[in-house]
Symmetry: C2
Subunit: 275 residues, 2 copies
């Protein structure tokens, strides 16, 4: 059996009882490392926090491991219980559909243990999840590569009065250009897009449009470390949020559409200089 278990958003305490039971039953435990694992006690001193809680050795599975070693993981899961832990919900912002498809094709049973995802936890700011349009991802721009397909989606949401959740780029274990040219893989340090960078890129893109969907006065909500003890939620115009230091990752951003009175009242609690 392959258990795909959501860890939730904060730290090791955000696993569910069902998830914990399943992990303890497993012979092998993998942990996906696509997103930030800092709050799970997985920074420099190894896997201590989670491993202590689970009483298991954990194997970190970055994107490469999962792609290259999926068959191995799945053969293990065919004969014994294997846990694949993911931050958030298994089918939230980062999806693990590929692994499930491969498992099902091989006849490996899959069980999913759900958990909180950034995609619903943003509800904490008071904007109703019903009133969100399509979610967009904002990738890091480079000097020469500025993909802006998110703009059109935001524009559509704005025209419909809907809110837009912007998921911000994460670059973990990116091979450095230098190392690629030398034929020996070395990795860039992980990069997590900040709200500041996201807004700068959003404002850069809107300059290409004559009647932009948003501008520096558009109200947004910035979230940092959502679901953690030290989460930060601030509402304000893009211009205002540019000046806020949101601290450590992960960050995400909501572009606010039309609001109802209750939504406004809740947003007020998070507004810069608000009540």
């Amino acid at each position: 059996m392959l258990y795909i278990i959501g860890l939730g958003l904060g730290d090791e305490k955000d696993i569910t009882l069902r998830g914990l039971e399943a992990v303890k039953r497993c012979n092998k435990v993998y942990l996906e490392a696509y997103t930030s694992l800092l709050s799970f006690g997985l920074s420099s001193d190894g896997l201590s926090t989670l491993e202590t809680l689970f009483g298991k050795v954990i194997t970190i599975a970055d994107r490469e491991t999962v792609e290259e070693r999926a068959d191995e993981i799945l053969s293990e899961a065919r004969v014994s219980d294997v846990a694949f832990l993911v931050v958030g919900d298994p089918f939230g912002a980062t999806t693990h559909t590929d692994l499930v498809v491969r498992a099902k094709k091989l006849g490996v049973f899959v069980k999913v243990v759900h958990n909180a995802s950034v995609m619903t936890a943003v509800g904490v700011c008071g904007l109703q999840l019903y009133r969100y349009g399509e979610t967009v991802s904002i990738p890091f721009f480079t000097e020469t590569w500025k993909p802006d397909s998110f703009y059109e989606k935001i524009q559509r949401n704005c025209m419909l009065g809907l809110h837009t959740l912007c998921l911000l780029d994460i670059r973990v274990k990116e091979p450095s250009l230098e190392s690629l040219s030398r034929g020996r893989k070395q990795y860039e340090p992980p990069r997590y897009m900040t709200i500041k960078t996201a807004i700068e890129q959003l404002l850069e893109v809107k300059q290409n449009h004559t009647q932009p969907a948003y501008n520096e006065d558009t109200i947004c909500v910035g979230f940092a470390r959502l679901g953690s003890e030290d989460q930060m939620v601030v509402a304000g115009s893009m211009k205002q949020l540019l000046t806020v230091d949101f601290g450590a990752p992960l960050h995400c951003l909501v572009i606010v559409g039309e609001t109802h009175p209750v939504e406004e009242e809740m947003l007020g609690f998070y507004t810069l200089g608000g009540n």
Copy 2:
């Protein structure tokens, strides 16, 4: 402190360690009863399962209780730790923004413990959450009252190729018309909309439109008891899903938009008569 704690989707084992810790710290524990509580051991024989797990007496808070006794709950929370438990995520499909707004106005500290919500758990069928448009709610039709504002939203999502999550009506503790006329409140038995009723209503509404956004051949995914051990997920045309017995509540429905190959592959596993 007022703790608003998500219980997740399945049963008592879906609370997180953080949530359980918080409940155990609380002097008073309320449980919102807007949605189905059947799987939390709260059917006929009282609150046994959750109360045993928590070692606490639980007070059921239906919509009336929350509206009428919010001040009382909040005064308790001002001087001691109070837990308000909700099925799913506190800000998922059913929102508790009102209570939070009132708490914040009274200066009561609020802490939210997130959990899985139907709004992300539907990801299990393989349709990417990125590719969903606005969520709609489908209310029970009566002979004389057939509100169909969901149609326009579905139409918009379809035109954009987006998937639509349809949340189905729940009627808990509705005063019976008869009892209202007698001036003494008696309640109708709880009603949970089935996928069959939802599709019948969807097809009824589309008859009012000359170029309907969907028809009985439109592919949908039906979910019953999502997140529970006995969850059921079936993909098929509206016509096909009408013939499926999805069993006990809660049900929800996704109207499928344009699909990518990986989405199709995953859907295949849930298709009637599929692999």
